[in-house]
């Protein structure tokens, strides 16, 4: 892979922790993502063929019955896999994991074979079947930092790489290292419950890297072995045998 950067510079490795207990399923992340990344509205005709483009979506699941009924909202974007199934199948190397761990999509290389979309276990890749347009007043809110994808191009969540690039350029102009709290994707910025945490796994002594390392984070579809860099945090109730041994534990009434 082409990388002419100096080997001495330490590049961050971006990742995201999604707190399932904090997420209320309000879809602010999905809306913010759509606005930030110029995501086309494909319309009802396309939607009938599962042709909507949604880099960030909320997957809702129901669990339990009666008073144990629970709704779980799970925001799902591109999981930014370390071992991404989409990458080796691309015949033109239009998608690869860059030096900062972001699985990037290079639009100008993409020839639209759609192999990557078929190989993605998370259905996080979306194909532009047509040239989509924005109805009259909406084109003024397009983000000038993000290119408009044309027909025949695959697209997906990029961890808002235009924001990462902008922050890195700003740091470079000011001749200082990048601070990891300097950039975050639109979804994390817009989340009112702060359920989406964005940060650098390799940051020494950082809160995010400590959370990433020490809390038991779950991955989506662990059996496919993709090692995603988007992971989910969930408060897990301890088993009943443990609870019984702890008198007056706060978790006891939850499970009882």
């Amino acid at each position: 892979m082409l990388n002419h950067d100096s080997p001495t510079t330490v590049r961050p490795r971006w990742a995201m922790i999604i707190d399932l207990n904090a997420c209320t399923g309000c879809s602010a992340c999905a809306v913010a993502c759509r606005a930030e990344n110029n995501i086309a509205i494909t319309g009802p005709g396309e939607a009938a063929y599962n042709g909507t483009i949604q880099w960030m979506r909320i997957e809702r699941t129901w669990k339990g019955r009666g008073r144990h009924f629970q709704v779980e909202n799970r925001p799902v974007n591109c999981q930014q896999c370390d071992d991404a199934p989409c990458e080796p199948v691309c015949p033109v190397q239009a998608t690869y994991t860059n030096a900062e761990g972001v699985c990037v999509q290079v639009y100008n290389r993409c020839v639209g074979t759609r192999y990557c979309g078929l190989n993605c276990p998370y259905q996080a890749r979306f194909f532009n079947w047509f040239d989509y347009t924005w109805p009259a007043p909406m084109e003024v809110q397009l983000n000038p930092d993000v290119s408009l994808r044309t027909r025949g191009i695959m697209e997906k969540c990029s961890f808002c790489i235009q924001r990462i690039n902008a922050a890195e350029r700003q740091a470079e102009r000011e001749k200082r290292p990048l601070r990891v709290d300097e950039t975050q994707p639109a979804c994390a910025q817009s989340c009112p419950a702060q359920a989406l945490l964005f940060g650098d796994i390799d940051q020494p002594g950082g809160r995010f890297s400590a959370n990433w390392r020490d809390t038991g984070l779950e991955t989506l579809l662990p059996e496919v072995g993709t090692q995603p860099k988007v992971r989910y945090a969930r408060r897990v109730a301890p088993p009943r045998s443990v609870l019984a041994a702890v008198p007056n534990s706060p978790g006891a009434e939850v499970e009882a």
Binding site: V106, D145, I161
Partner: protein
């Protein structure tokens, strides 16, 4: 006799290829005719600097094209009677912009962003890509805009060559 013909043949072929090579950027990206023959040379000789008119080059991704109202700021007093200035002032009075045609441009399929500010912060002069404008009226494509030109310079100066650095 036969040998000399063969040698001439190769010389001619070489000349043809060399000519095509130099003419290629002009053939594929012809310099468009502008609505007004703006004399860059005159303005630079008068002591103006590039960023006096293309004023966002140092701060922003795009260098910026001055509005015709900015032309009118100076030319309300200066050289108001020359034909070119009168043409520009007519645009200003009608309240419409001069329909300049872009010279340095990329196809939309390149999905490319060129940040002027980063290149100026790195210490490059405008003339590195745009040529010496002191002898030029309207802008012409001085450097062929293809990825080879970009990448060669990025490698030479140790800049990033990741795809997403420019194509995002």
């Amino acid at each position: 006799m036969l040998k000399s013909i063969r040698r001439w043949k190769y010389l001619l072929l070489g000349l043809l290829l060399a000519g095509l090579g130099t003419a290629w950027p002009r053939l594929t990206h012809p310099t468009p005719a502008q609505p007004l023959a703006f004399p860059h040379a005159l303005h630079l000789r008068a002591g103006l600097h590039c960023t006096d008119c293309h004023r966002y080059a140092a701060e922003s991704a795009s260098a910026g094209l001055p509005s015709v109202r900015e032309c009118a700021l100076c030319h309300a007093r200066l050289r108001t009677q020359t034909p070119l200035v009168r043409k520009a002032l007519a645009y200003a009075q009608r309240g419409i912009e001069i329909p300049w045609r872009r010279v340095y441009r990329y196809p939309a399929s390149a999905h490319l962003r060129f940040p002027h500010n980063m290149h100026i912060a790195a210490g490059f002069a405008c003339s590195t890509c745009h040529g010496d404008m002191r002898g030029v009226t309207t802008a012409r494509l001085w450097k062929p805009l293809n990825m080879g030109v970009c990448i060669t310079c990025h490698r030479q100066y140790g800049a990033k060559t990741e795809c997403q650095n420019c194509h995002d």
